[in-house]
């Protein structure tokens, strides 16, 4: 009996160890590649621990001495002067503003869905959530034509608006869930005391809702930061975001793996840190509130 249990535990342990190794290997490889000098990356026998670790890949991407990160990749001339900061800066601006708008507009709508009574409320809420699930490929064509007409292609505004397509329904839906967890009596009391709906929202409920708002904002941030298709189509050079800039390493002369790894790793840190901060709510966010652990 004891031996059986021991065998069972070892079996479990081996499975978990294997899964951990498989999960971490690609990430380990990204980290190692980012600190390897150029000569140690394309060897037939891979070098697992770089003999001469270097930060030159990071320097080349963010503080280039001569030329920029795309020079060797052979990409279009107008992109030659671009450094890694452009993508990071655009990503930060687009992500923060789109998230802010989604939360602001979403709060009002979520309040109505959670607290006010009107006809067709649930149907409307569900229809709104369903728009989050539309494939971006379906709306990208008309949005591109629209942005083109307003001369917004390759501006941050185009992406800020486009990201509302998925951020807003998500934010309304999540915030509605957090609203319903706050006892209704609280705002009813406030209104009996003479507060308006907006006053009750601002003074009584909002402070209680702050954790929910932060969690929702973190998810909007991650969705926007990772988005690729809209960014690929709606930007050219000036407004390109981090993922588009990473994909530009697929130049015609072969990929510069070292700088790519350094840049890719640096740009992956913001969503990773936020995800770990919101770890407790991760499943809840990713299932639209269906699983509350």
């Amino acid at each position: 009996m004891k031996i059986k249990k021991l065998a069972f535990l070892t079996g479990n342990f081996i499975i978990i160890a294997v899964v951990m190794i498989l999960t971490l290997l690609p990430i380990f490889w990204l980290v190692v590649t980012s600190i390897k000098p150029a000569g140690e990356i394309t060897t037939r026998v891979p070098i697992f621990i770089p003999t001469k670790p270097t930060l030159s890949n990071y320097k080349g991407v963010f503080f280039p001495e001569t030329g920029s990160l795309y020079q060797k990749a052979g990409v279009a001339r107008e992109m030659l002067s671009v450094t890694g900061w452009v993508g990071i800066k655009n990503s930060i601006i687009v992500t923060l503003l789109s998230t802010g708008l989604a939360i602001g507009i979403g709060l009002l709508a979520a309040y109505a869905f959670a607290r006010l009574r009107f006809k067709g409320r649930d149907t409307l809420a569900f229809w709104l959530l369903s728009t989050k699930m539309f494939p971006p490929a379906t709306v990208i064509l008309p949005i591109f034509i629209m942005m083109n007409r307003f001369r917004l292609v390759d501006t941050q505004i185009a992406l800020i608006l486009a990201y509302l397509v998925f951020n807003l329904p998500f934010s309304v839906w999540m915030l509605r869930g957090f609203f319903t967890e706050i006892p209704r009596e609280l705002d009813e009391c406030a209104m009996v005391d003479g507060c308006s709906h907006l006053g009750a929202l601002a003074k009584i409920i909002l402070p209680l809702l702050i954790p929910g708002i932060i969690v929702t904002a973190i998810f909007c941030f991650i969705f926007s930061w990772n988005e690729f298709l809209f960014a690929l189509i709606l930007t050219r050079v000036k407004a390109q975001t981090f993922p588009v800039q990473v994909s530009a390493f697929l130049g015609v002369k072969g990929i510069q793996w070292g700088p790519m790894a350094a840049f890719g790793l640096a740009g992956s840190i913001p969503p990773l840190v936020l995800a770990i901060a919101a770890q407790r709510y991760l499943v809840r966010g990713l299932t639209y509130g269906a699983v509350k652990e």
Binding site: V19, M133, F228, A261
Partner: protein, 291 residues
């Protein structure tokens, strides 16, 4: 009193103005576009009304459409299937108190949160025929002389699926683990008292209680898998030939390489119909669980 009756309108107005402008209008516009022939490379021809011609030629003449459609279904089916099997296996394994469970959950969170384009890039490096890590392992264990992971037409599709499985199995695992942890304890205690076996407990207690959450996890991943674009873009751009091209990729090529706008709009409506059919089922299960 009248003001209070229409109060919700004011709260919903900004939200629905945005949705109208960014979702409803584009959807109507692309629906109407799908009945036109409008090629920007032949802009002098302008827009010409062709009725259902785009749809008819998609379904009757377009071999590329059928190829990309079958690619899409193969990718979705295989990726989600394998992700589910590994995910539920791990979740069931980890419901017991095992040392290191917490670290394991954090580690598994990492792939999901790496930017998908970067994930594609890393796998492209791992798959490299001459200096990729995977072929190095195959060579050192004398399994094969190396596989052309992204260039071999019979392999490339599976290489993309593997990268997707690596990134998204953790999602299914975490959802199911969350689900299992929130199950009521009483039925298990009762079953143990009655002397039920582990497999009986799973089939008659865990599975029925977990059915809704399993459905949600599967549908979420399915909908997402239908939209897969970034990894394919980075790994193969749909090649070699058409072997890894899915419907979103095909729409992209039609619209932004060949500028065949009407045709691309029709394609995108077909994708929309497929995905919203699945989304309806998802919304229904979400409605049941969040009520």
């Amino acid at each position: 009193m009248r003001r209070a009756k229409f109060l919700h309108v004011w709260f919903l107005l900004p939200c629905f103005a945005v949705v109208l402008f960014l979702v409803v209008f584009p959807l109507i516009y692309s629906l109407s576009l799908s009945f036109f022939s409008w090629n920007l490379t032949m802009a002098y021809l302008g827009k010409a009304w062709v009725g259902l011609d785009n749809y008819i030629s998609i379904f009757t003449e377009d071999e590329r459409f059928w190829k990309t459609l079958s690619n899409t279904f193969l990718m979705v089916g295989l990726a989600v299937g394998v992700e589910f099997l590994i995910g539920i296996g791990l979740a069931l394994l980890l419901t017991r108190e095992i040392p290191g469970r917490k670290i394991f959950s954090v580690v598994l969170l990492v792939p999901m949160m790496i930017v998908p384009v970067v994930v594609g890039m890393v796998w492209r490096l791992l798959y490299h025929t001459s200096y990729g890590l995977l072929n190095f392992f195959l060579r050192s264990f004398h399994i094969s002389e190396g596989i052309d992971w992204l260039g071999d037409p019979s392999v490339a599709l599976y290489s993309i699926i593997i990268a997707d499985i690596w990134q998204w199995t953790p999602l299914i695992f975490l959802i199911l683990l969350g689900g299992i942890m929130s199950l009521p304890k009483e039925p298990y205690e009762a079953a143990q008292l009655d002397g039920a076996s582990t497999s009986q407990i799973f089939i008659y207690i865990t599975f029925p209680l977990l059915k809704n959450i399993i459905t949600i996890a599967l549908l979420l991943r399915t909908i997402d898998a239908f939209k897969l674009f970034d990894k394919i873009w980075v790994l193969t751009q749909g090649g070699p030939g058409l072997t890894t091209e899915n419907i979103p990729m095909y729409i992209y090529y039609k619209a932004f390489r060949y500028f065949d706008m009407g045709y691309a709009a029709a394609l995108s409506y077909i994708l929309l119909i497929i995905v919203s059919t699945i989304a309806t089922f998802l919304l229904r299960s979400l409605f049941v669980t969040t009520k």
